[in-house]
């Protein structure tokens, strides 16, 4: 057994050593841990790690196959996201023990803190003492065994799995019920306890999901196909959209869920114009070779940055909302155009990884499909806090799309209306977030950038937090951003517009004297290279496209992404529909669209008088409406309206 003394070396170095010894199959003993965080994070070798004392947050987090023995206590997030392997804790464990585990066995000899087993998928979390409040909160599967008493709201909103309690249950959570325990289940528990030398003779109450809230009580109605321009409505008062909305609510008796983006007219990039004479723009067919567009994103703390041939990324969209074929085509197109793709929620499929040369892997509150192995093969990690389409809400994936295959990669029961948690179990403030970011860096050896995705709400505060929490870059998403499924009211009315968001972000950095210290990728309803150039002028370091790439790949904008029967094979998991999607053809279509974006960026940059996109400036812009002027701080000058109207036909 090799000894590593944390009184002598920092945790970062200790974790490197633990991994090195792990690779050689050598067991490790950690001395003087003194409740330091991140001990053993990211270990993927089947060795034994003995911690001689107390460990801090995320002990054994993001590990697979190792066996941890902690003599005393552990802090929050014990065994976070652990796959196989085990942890035995001699003392107490803090809140969210067994958070999001996917197969590990965790045994706590003392008590465990609040919300333990939150969003766990598989494996066993066993507490020999008492469990605090809300154990099994939003768990999707696996087993929690509590030999003592349980606190309030046990199994709150659990979607799957079982909780066995030997002592008293203070109260049950929403949608949880007590049922009889079967003889073989009791035998299984006894076998488990024997294996960990826990002598216990009593019996258990069994708590499972009560099945009342796994699906919406009423089904989402099929909507009439209203053309988008009509849908967004020239008339904001009584129009066909409002009429239909009322009719549907009269049938379903709740808020509506739909896909696609907001359909309400809001100040956007069309309300901003270039203040220079652009009559010659687009004439030089060689513009691309004359303008420097190469951009690196996320290298500020020494990680390997994303290397982009132009300041453009693909916006995060999930495999789940989109079909595997669509994600494959987008990945291919991103590679062909030399930019980066993003997994969105729900895990990294093989099709995504093999087709996208650079792929950012997103971490969301439900930890659906999140795991150390895919983290290790990602080119960037991204903590999703919220998205522009529905800031403050979790994703929705209605039952039709939760197929067997998809349920497996996400680690959830098949056929539920999946309403992802709106917040992370282990991020309840910027102070927790910084410890989480550190965990992700520890797990991946500080090799790749860690970014944050922010839906535009309180941008002013959020951006400062992002900077202080040491993120490598920000993906900032305005309210014109789209989604696979969201509450209609939220999509239309919550958040702030994209053009206002970038202004707020830059103002916040300036206010604390930290301008330019964190890169910002702006997204949320960007349609083409012209919008991208405006975003860059306003101060974004890069622009990201989501909906535009989907449309380039065949989307007909029917706004029914949530239904799961997408006729183009994009927003569906049904093989019958998906087979209509021709991956190589659509990959070329998306690639061609991205190349048109490249040309537009180059042509406009050149026409504005620069040879490098980094020279684009706010001074090149005016606002065409008073609203846009107020939101962006740009001078109000409607005299450029005609030029703005023509620019799309000239530079394409």
């Amino acid at each position: 057994m090799v000894q590593i003394d944390l009184a002598e070396i920092p945790v970062r170095r200790a974790n490197e050593l633990i991994r090195e010894h792990g690779a050689k199959g050598e067991d490790v003993e950690v001395l003087n841990p003194d409740a330091r965080h991140h001990v053993g994070v990211g270990l993927i070798s089947p060795i034994t790690v003995r911690v001689r004392g107390s460990a801090g947050y995320f002990c054994a987090g993001l590990s697979d196959a190792a066996r941890f023995l902690v003599d005393s206590n552990t802090g929050w997030g014990l065994g976070d996201n652990m796959y196989s392997g085990s942890v035995v804790v001699g003392g107490n464990a803090g809140a969210i023990a067994g958070l999001a585990i996917r197969g590990a066995e965790i045994v706590i000899k003392g008590n465990m803190g609040s919300r333990s087993g939150q969003v766990m998928k598989k494996g066993t979390l066993c507490c020999c003492g008492n469990a605090n409040f809300m154990a099994g909160y939003m768990m999707y599967g696996g087993r929690i065994i509590i030999l003592g008493d349980s606190g309030e709201r046990l199994g709150e909103n659990m979607a799957g799995g079982e909780i066995f309690v030997a002592g008293e249950i203070q109260s049950l959570g929403a949608d949880a019920q007590v049922v009889d325990i079967a003889a073989d289940e009791l035998d299984n528990i006894r076998e488990f306890l024997d294996r960990y030398d826990i002598s216990f003779k009593g019996t258990f109450k069994k708590v499972v999901n009560a099945g009342k809230q796994l699906r919406y009580a009423t089904r989402e109605q099929q909507v009439r196909s209203i053309p988008f321009y009509h849908f967004s409505g020239d008339c904001d008062y009584w129009n066909p959209k409002i009429q239909e909305d009322i009719y549907i609510k009269s049938q379903i008796g709740r808020y509506r869920v739909r896909g696609y983006g907001g359909a309400r007219a809001l100040p956007h990039f069309s309300d901003i114009a270039f203040r220079k004479d652009l009559s010659r723009a687009g004439e030089d067919a060689e513009a691309v070779s004359k303008v420097a567009m190469h951009t690196q994103i996320g290298g500020k703390s020494g990680a390997k940055p994303l290397d982009l041939t132009m300041p453009v990324l693909i916006a995060p969209m999930s495999y789940g909302a989109l079909s595997a074929s669509t994600k494959a085509a987008i990945g291919m197109a991103s590679t062909l155009s030399g930019i980066a793709e993003n997994t969105g929620e729900g895990g990294m499929s093989e099709a995504q990884r093999s087709n996208a040369k650079q792929l950012v892997f997103q971490c969301l509150g439900g930890r659906l499909g999140w795991n150390i192995h895919d983290m290790n093969r990602a080119d960037g990690l991204e903590v999703y806090i919220s998205q522009g389409a529905k800031p403050g809400f979790g994703g929705q994936l209605l039952a039709k799309k939760v197929t067997k295959e998809l349920a497996e990669i996400r680690g959830i029961p098949q056929g539920i209306d999946l309403r992802s948690p709106s917040r992370h179990p282990d991020i309840l403030g910027p102070d927790d977030l910084i410890i989480k970011v550190e965990e992700l860096r520890e797990a991946t050896g500080y090799r790749i950038p860690v970014s944050v995705k922010l839906g535009a709400g309180r941008v002013h505060d959020d951006v400062k937090i992002a900077l202080k929490d040491t993120f490598d870059f920000i993906e900032l998403d305005g309210m014109q951003g789209s989604t696979g499924a969201g509450g209609a009211e939220v999509m239309e009315y919550v958040g702030i517009p994209t053009i206002a968001a970038i202004r707020a972000a830059l103002d916040a950095l300036e206010e604390i004297g930290r301008s330019g210290e964190i890169q910002i990728v702006l997204m949320g309803g960007l349609r083409d290279g012209i919008d991208a150039v405006k975003a860059l002028c306003m101060g974004a370091d890069a622009a990201a496209f989501g909906t535009a790439t989907i449309i380039a790949g065949g989307c007909i904008a029917c706004m029914q992404c949530h239904v799961g029967q997408c006729v183009t094979g994009i927003a569906t998991q049904d093989p019958e529909h998906e087979k209509r999607y021709n991956v190589p053809v659509e990959a070329q279509n998306i690639h061609r669209f991205l190349e048109s974006v490249r040309f537009q960026i180059a042509a406009l940059t050149q026409a504005l008088g620069y040879d490098d996109v980094k020279k684009l400036s706010r001074d090149d812009l005016v606002a065409l409406t008073p609203e846009a002027a107020v939101m962006t701080g740009l001078p109000f000058d409607p005299s450029y309206r005609d030029q703005e109207r023509e620019i799309r036909s000239r530079v394409r």
Partner: protein, 302 residues
């Protein structure tokens, strides 16, 4: 946004190294708040002897003029200064006074940036780390019976010394709090207290907790009972520590959304956001700690 720490020595009266202990504890959780750090330190105190601290020179105004104005107000209220000194961004005065502290405090608040006024309490806070504050204010040599500490990450408000914790409940001698979390019914509670004549000097929700508790104590409610009431009255996510001349206590919201962990033995009671802070007091030793449940509160007296 923050990390908190608190310690009370059960024995030895006012002769314990509270300053040194809190520096260690805060250094252990500085990652939770790199922007500013502060200490509320208590010694035995003497009747009618006030310790006063003010921020000077943190804005554009000349510190000499600020100090002159402070002394003018002190004189007007019959406060006899027996010792005064400049310490980094603080002006510290020790004085004899037996009048109404609340009246004096409000008068001073209108003319100066008061950090703390108390018989046994002194608050030392500024921008920087625990070690930075120690260098400027000599925290480590402070001997006493108990104290609180706080590390802050500035988010909603700017990084400035005035926004650092601990917060003193203006006008109430020897009452300080440190807080990790967010009070979501801030404006409602603030308006309620303002109608009752209390003054607020920041927009920080932590100041609200201090004034809320001071109000209860003034009505002869015990600290423990005041904490029990706070769990019902305050909305949001919070773990806060409070200290008075003789007591130290904590309260935690009903969702247990912010961390807090405690350690107690025959000599001390120590509370902190993270065990790593508690462990700084006992390097190399595994501690028998406990995490209070949601909605918990408690107090200890010396």
């Amino acid at each position: 946004m923050c990390g908190v720490a608190g310690i009370m020595f059960k024995n030895g009266g006012g002769s314990n190294e509270t300053g040194r202990a809190l520096i260690e504890m805060l250094d252990g959780c500085q990652h939770r708040g790199p922007d500013s750090t502060g200490f509320a330190l208590y010694d035995a105190g003497e009747d009618d002897r006030l310790h006063m601290r003010f921020f000077v020179g943190t804005g554009d105004e000349d510190p000499k003029a600020q100090i002159a104005r402070i002394k003018e107000i002190l004189a007007e209220h019959g406060v006899r200064v027996i010792k005064e000194e400049r310490q980094a961004n603080h002006f510290r005065a020790v004085a004899d006074f037996s009048g109404d502290i609340q009246k004096l405090s409000y008068a001073l608040e209108h003319a100066a940036k008061v950090v703390s006024i108390g018989r046994s309490l002194e608050i030392l806070k500024d921008v920087g780390s625990a070690h930075d504050i120690d260098k400027q204010y000599d925290v480590r040599h402070f001997k006493g019976s108990h104290g609180l500490g706080h590390v802050r990450m500035a988010t909603e408000s700017e990084v400035n010394p005035e926004a650092a914790h601990p917060f003193w409940a203006t006008g109430f001698e020897d009452l300080a709090i440190v807080h990790n979390g967010q009070i979501t019914n801030y404006f409602k509670m603030r308006r309620r207290l303002e109608r009752r004549g209390f003054e607020f000097h920041t927009d920080n929700d932590s100041e609200l907790i201090a004034v809320y508790l001071a109000d209860k104590l003034q009505q002869d409610v015990s600290l423990k009972e005041a904490l029990r009431m706070s769990v019902d009255d305050l909305d949001g996510t919070f773990s806060f520590l409070v200290s008075t001349k003789d007591e130290i206590g904590y309260a935690k919201d009903r969702l247990a959304a912010k961390p807090m962990i405690m350690y107690e033995d025959d000599d001390i009671i120590a509370l902190a956001s993270e065990e790593v802070s508690l462990n700084r007091l006992f390097p190399g030793k595994a501690l028998n700690t406990s995490e209070p449940p949601p909605g918990a509160y408690d107090t200890w007296s010396r």
